[in-house]
């Protein structure tokens, strides 16, 4: 093999602490190397052209580029090789930037280490063999998990692009958190008026199949060919028959069921439809509060239902959907603020969450848009808002900023003034974070036009005094302690990963961070991809996000899916495990350890053997280190290739 070595300056990133010309000179002495040079930017157009010219001029059949991490530019240089007519796997990269120049200042030591890394890469390259992708067909349908605004947007964009969409929503209606909001910032337009039409579009779109009150049970398969088991939870109502007329809800005598849609501000009927614009508009029985299910009494709903849809014996049902891609859009949940003893820990009824306040403001909420204190139903005049409750607070394990609370708090102060003109809002804040189009102007409006009293500081204590609450905090700009008599306290609770997010991540085989938010493929350049092919992200499941950002991500994820499905066949990655059938003893250890279910047992002339399903294998290599016989080898990372690198570095 004739190897060419290209040592990149990366401007001064590498050249600043590595003598790249010396590395190139040293490389010329390594086995197989016939050509070596340093180059200003290997990844630039002239840099790549230089590699192609050298391949042709020196008849190279393998290339080493010593530059940066392969994460970004390995695909770049592999394409360069292909343009020059070489197989893309006859390429190795030595990372002399992240592993050398950025971490040490000793130029001589750095130069020596860089040369060693090039020596390893060249030694491995000598053992490399051309590898070829296989083609496999794509199922051009997509599953969107989560029917909040991000999932709705992703589903509609995919469906409008001609794809079949399966939308799975765990609640009985789509709409997510946005459906609970009264108004949106910075326009103060009605949330359900904006979202409602989109929800209707979902219901009516011929390409969208909606499974509400359903959850993902099991995910098998791989990009282009996922097989997903969906649990349709028992609603005790036959939804094919239910027309959503609401007669059952009207007549149900059990009134104490938990009203999750109204954030537990009120109670609801044991059989209920969460809100008038629900999609699908179907009734569901809460079995904990149904007298028929609990005590075998009542059954009024079944008697009044004109379409005989009530089925007290309904069980969970499982269905299987085959799709080619998945968009996770599972959103967020609210931080449980009751850990804050200083805010009463849940003892005081007039300390509520921002989302509860939102339901209070909403005309479809339990108080029909009138702000009323939970304790006595009185209209509050002094409303205190506390920001960063469960955000930017290491002491409760939530060091991150939830991003949207500053904005919705400003909105809520404006709405408070609109609802109760003689009211006064007070906002305790840490910093006002309002980067966004018309966002900062909006917070200024809350202060300047609506007279919200912004106090920079944290609240140390809320305690009852008579019928009211005293909110004590610091005013750090004045260097003073403040105490405010409040009729109502609204906590701007932060966002956290939704309940069950990590379980779903495990099923989808995607990564999540320390807080349970799903990990994107690259923090800047792959914001909606994951490291699992065919699985994409949209909305707050990836990190707290406001509505515009969630919608943008929904569309972005859809465009990725449409791009993926623009091809009829997909190429598999040939860097997969291969079983040497002569060495395999059929012990099955690899089958047990494979995290992707990519190895199956086969019968080979009456003998048990392992066999790798190429399209499922992700090339993690766990099987290769598990196999007691060394019978499984990961292509492009074989034992021989790795040992060649080890030998190159351990010469003395």
């Amino acid at each position: 093999m004739k190897i060419g070595v290209f040592v990149c300056h990366c401007g001064t990133n590498i050249e600043g602490t590595v003598d790249t010309a010396a590395v190139a000179a040293a490389s010329r002495e390594f086995p197989g190397v016939v050509f070596a040079t340093d180059t200003m930017y290997a990844c630039s157009e002239p840099g790549q052209d230089g590699i192609i010219e050298a391949i042709k001029e020196h008849k190279l059949d393998g290339v080493v580029v010593a530059s940066c991490t392969p994460r970004m530019h390995e695909p770049t240089f592999r394409r360069t090789l292909e343009r020059a007519g070489l197989n893309r796997y006859l390429f190795e990269m030595a990372n002399i930037r992240e592993h050398v120049s950025w971490i040490g200042k000793d130029r001589e030591a750095n130069t020596n280490k860089s040369a060693d890394l090039v020596r390893m890469a060249a030694a491995k390259l000598l053992k490399n063999r051309p590898l070829f992708s296989k083609q496999f067909p794509v199922n051009k349908s997509v599953m969107v998990v989560g029917g909040g605004v991000a999932g709705i947007q992703a589903a509609l964009d995919c469906a409008n692009g001609g794809l079949k969409v399966v939308l799975v929503e765990k609640d009985t209606t789509i709409g997510g958190k946005m459906a609970k909001l009264d108004k949106t910032f910075p326009t103060v337009d009605c949330s359900s008026c904006v979202l409602g039409p989109l929800m209707v579009d979902v219901a009516q779109h011929p390409n969208i199949n909606l499974h509400a009150y359903s959850e993902i049970e099991e995910v098998n398969g791989y990009v282009g060919n996922f097989e997903i088991k969906v649990k349709k939870k028992a609603s005790y109502v036959d939804w094919d028959a239910c027309t959503g007329c609401g007669l059952c809800v009207e007549k149900c005598p059990s009134r104490k069921a938990t009203d999750f849609f109204n954030e537990k501000l009120a109670t609801t009927k044991a059989i209920n439809i969460p809100f008038p614009q629900a999609i699908p508009k179907k009734a569901k029985i809460d079995p904990d509060f149904c007298m028929k299910i609990q005590k075998d009494k009542c059954g009024v709903c079944a008697k009044v239902c004109p379409s005989e849809a009530i089925d007290f014996t309904q069980k969970d049902e499982f269905i299987t959907e085959n799709v080619g891609a998945v968009v996770a859009a599972t959103g967020f949940d609210l931080f449980d603020w009751t850990v804050y003893g200083q805010y009463g820990g849940g003892k005081y009824p007039d300390v509520i969450t921002s989302l509860q306040y939102e339901r209070m403001l909403s005309a479809s909420g339990p108080s029909e848009g009138h702000i009323k204190r939970p304790s006595d139903g009185k209209e509050p005049k002094n409303v205190v808002f506390i920001q960063c409750v469960g955000s930017r607070d290491k002491s409760v394990g939530r060091p991150y900023c939830s991003g949207f609370c500053c904005m919705y708090t400003a909105k809520q102060t404006i709405l408070t003034k609109d609802h109760i003109p003689d009211s006064q809002s007070h906002v305790f804040y840490m910093d006002i974070r309002s980067p966004g189009k018309l966002y900062d102007e909006f917070t200024r409006r809350a202060m300047e036009e609506y007279g919200a009293n912004y106090i920079r500081g944290r609240v140390s204590m809320i305690y009852p005094k008579g019928d009211n609450l005293v909110v004590r905090g610091a005013d750090t700009l004045m260097g003073a302690q403040v105490e405010i008599d409040a009729d109502l306290v609204v906590l701007a609770v932060g966002a956290e990963a939704s309940v069950g997010a990590t379980d779903l991540a495990k099923k989808l085989r995607i990564s999540y961070d320390a807080y349970g938010f799903f990990m994107e493929g690259h923090p800047k350049l792959k914001p909606v991809e994951t490291n699992t092919a065919g699985v994409y992200l949209a909305g707050a499941c990836q990190g707290p996000k406001d509505i515009p950002a969630s919608v943008a991500q929904g569309s972005a994820a859809a465009s990725k899916v449409l791009g993926l499905f623009s091809q009829d066949m997909l190429a598999s990655d040939p860097q997969v495990s291969v079983v040497d059938i002569k060495r395999c003893i059929g012990c099955g250890k690899c089958i047990q350890t494979c995290p992707f279910g990519a190895i199956k047992e086969i019968d080979f002339r009456g003998m048990k053997k392992a066999d790798v399903i190429e399209t499922i294998c992700q090339g993690c290599g766990i099987c290769t280190s598990t196999c007691p016989q060394g019978a499984v080898q990961l292509q492009h990372f074989t034992d021989n290739q790795i040992l060649a690198e080890v030998n190159a570095i351990c010469r003395f």
Partner: protein, 296 residues
Amino acid sequence: MSDSLNYAYYPGCSGTGTSIEYDMSTRAICAKLGITLNEIPDWSCCGSTPAHTVDHTLSSALSARNLALVEKMNLSTAITPCPSCLTNLKTATHRMGKDEFRDDVNKLLDTPYNGGVDTKSVLQIIVEDMGLDALKSKVVKPLKGLKVAAYYGCIMNRPPEVMNFDDPEHPMAMDNILTALGATVLPFPLKVECCGASFGIPRKDIVMSLSGKLLDAAQDIGATALVTACPLCQMNLDLRQDQINSANGAKHNIPVFYYTQLIGLALGLDEKELGIDKLCVSPRKVINDIGAEDAS
């Protein structure tokens, strides 16, 4: 069970003077409840507030000296009635968890202390080691009709990672004890508010304002007595109640008990033993009213 209720006892300096009734009542109820108190021989001051505000190492050495004495007694737990002493003992232990700091402290001591002693409040061992059921079973004179506000002060439970006892914002230990004694415990919103502490000397106005708020809040909820577990809190609220009244134009007349005194009354102990006569605001009427509803 009573075999296990055996502790080294650290009375603290105020227990020999300004809060002698706290010490008296603690010893009296422990004797009655089968809790053995072994006073640490030759114990010395914990350093109180002045020491730790000036020098952490010297302050910790004062506490560590006492803990080293406990080690010699072959007892694993030292208890004290005073939250301020407890804070110093616990903070010293906490800080001495770091090798360098421990070495610095031990250089100052004849007998080095290596951290084998657990420190707790008398309140904590009554609730956790003895238990409320055991306490309740020994009550002979329930405090029926006594409407109390339990006031813990700011340092009994805080900082939580050092004190490691009860809820730092809403402690319940005394509430639960008083309920077990038959008293009516009212929800006191300022349980862990500061009384002004030792500012009574340099800035009396601060104590007038802070302790005044506590008395106002107790009155607001209809308490006829305040119950404390801290000598300084008790002194500010009781001894200075007249001063607070004249500073704030108030007319409070709320007796301020140590919780140990009320346990003693419920156990049927003699008022003299409990130092009831040491209280400044007379508790006579309140005590006489206990159980009065029954009689009528």
